[in-house]
Amino acid sequence: MNNIKFFIALNCIFLLLVVSACSQKDAQLIQVSKSKNSCKYSKWLQIYEGEKSIEIKIIHPDHPERIYSFSGIKIASKNLSQSKEYILIPCKNIAALSATQIGMLSVLDAENTICAVSDSKYVYNASVKQGLQSGAILSLGASQEISMELLISSGAKTIVHSAFSGDFPHRKELKKMGITCIPNFDWREEDPLGKAEWLLLFGYLTGKEEQAKKLFSELVISYKATMKKVKKQTKDQLISGNFIRDYWYAPAGESYNAKLFKDAGMNYIYSKTKGTGSYTVSMEKILMDTKDVKIWINPGFSSRAEIIKSNAKAKRLNCFQNGKIYCYSNDLNKFWELSAVQPHLLLADLYSISSRPSPKNLHFYKELK
């Protein structure tokens, strides 16, 4: 009898702990949403303008309980709480470790705040390229293998990184040195406007938030205007993606690219599939599914010959033989840098492609011959 009572008591305590842990999480989220969030489209970025500080909260897409909080302050004071992470705004020395970050800083004319970049051979922006040549901006090599010493020697005070593999290495040590690491999850945004909204983060970091807000609202208007132009969905079927060895990988129905296609009024054949990543298709299925497809977008190469070189079976597809192929290979570096922050131009390109047989003046795309 005593044993049973003990057992029940233990279970009750266990249940209480679980419930309280859960409700704590909800409490956190509720508290955060009471203040006004400047970001309307982004899923992972939240910015709150306070009286004395700017509160930046970044939610980890795979672990929503992990929230990275930063307090942007204008003046360093001595009574700062140890539990918060503070950033002195405006930032003067930013290590921009991904192309989209360079792009966003460049539209704010804030390239001079960049002190270091990675993968320098993919840089598009002219003044950053000049900075790399003159030595004002340090090149850090490939983003997967950044040397800590080099990074610190660049004088960066703020590191913005793409967080593919979780936290930035040595994050805690860098914090002790006064260097803040901010994870950038723009690549996990499924809404093109949500992705572009990360511009606001850079706006606040560089003290150019008004400019950023203005630019952002302009591009939202432009984006929505293009959406209005779409009278009805085009009949022409669209396929996206390409073969990797034996399988075709296409963007799944809830992904970033799928949303772009939908907003541009395109009839994407896999728009109804679930998921935000890739949709895998066998060779035989893609052959049959694309037999009436007229437009092929984003094969990942810049010419038809290159497509066949990588997989000879591609030439059997009807979309290759009789369709039009478009890719963002007009200028690859420009695409990777600027497309995130210029979704309205991307959408305009896609709308032109779907509504005209020979679209001209495309910003990012070009037809593959």
Binding site: I244, R245, D246, Y247, E284, L287, M288, I308, N311, K313
Partner: protein, 331 residues
Amino acid sequence: MIKKRIPFILVIALLLVPLSAFIHLTTGEIYVSLNDFFSAIFEFKGNNSSHVLIREFKIPRILIAIVAGGGLALSGMLMQTLFNNPLAGPYVLGINSGASLLVALSLMSGFSFFGSDIGIISAALIGAFLAGILMMAVAQRIRSQISLLLVGLMFGSFTSALVSILESLSGEGALKAYTLWTMGSLQQVEFDQLPLILFIFICGIFLSFILIKPLNMLVIGERSAGLLGLKISQVRFLIMGITALLAGLITAFCGPIAFVGLAVPNLTRILLRTQNHRWLILGNLFFGAVFLLLCDSIIQLFSEQIALPINAFTSIIGAPFVVFILMRKLK
């Protein structure tokens, strides 16, 4: 004395080949009927996607599965007889390693000539050929069977090490492309390449049949066979040459495919209960083809849920079987 049992089993095995091919044809994601199949062959229309599916996708895949399965099993049999070792496979001579090294070089170094898909096939063929020549030259100078086997294995280790170095020096894209190649694929063969592949395959089979007597004699050991009049170095040369030809051809067009060459010859011997290569050659061809066709059919069946590479699957089935053989041998 003709045992009725062996021809009976072989006839069944022979019939299983078209049966497995039929299963493969009809269990794809896209439904294909026998009617479609015949009209695709005899009344092919380029704009009929069903015809294109059958001619450019299904037929090459099925035929290469038969060639690869039968060819690897046959090469495995040749190696197991040459080395009197049931654990030898078509890759012990380092043929596969030679092909892998050259493919790695072509993908990960800067040669643009080699970067294309045709380039990979040529690179693999050249690599296999060079490895074969090297091993055949070595075989002339080494008397002992075990030493020869060890040289082959060491050559394999050496080239693997070189490939590792290349991998650490190369970029992400090239590394990924190479890794994908090592997973093996039965779907990268073009219909137009089939005549050449089939021709070389049939040459390999024909040459194997010519070697029936030497192969049979090798069963009692190289020394005893030599004392009965077998010209050892000549026979070694021919057997290694045929293996290099078949294994090299298959690796060039499909990448490395594991375990077929190791498991099927053992399975054939156990099922036919004979050491007479007149039957073993046929048995290996049929069982090898059926094995690979059925493995690929299963992969096809689950391709919607999971993208399994052929190598992974043959290893899953083959490795336990090899353990089984080992245990039998140790008893």
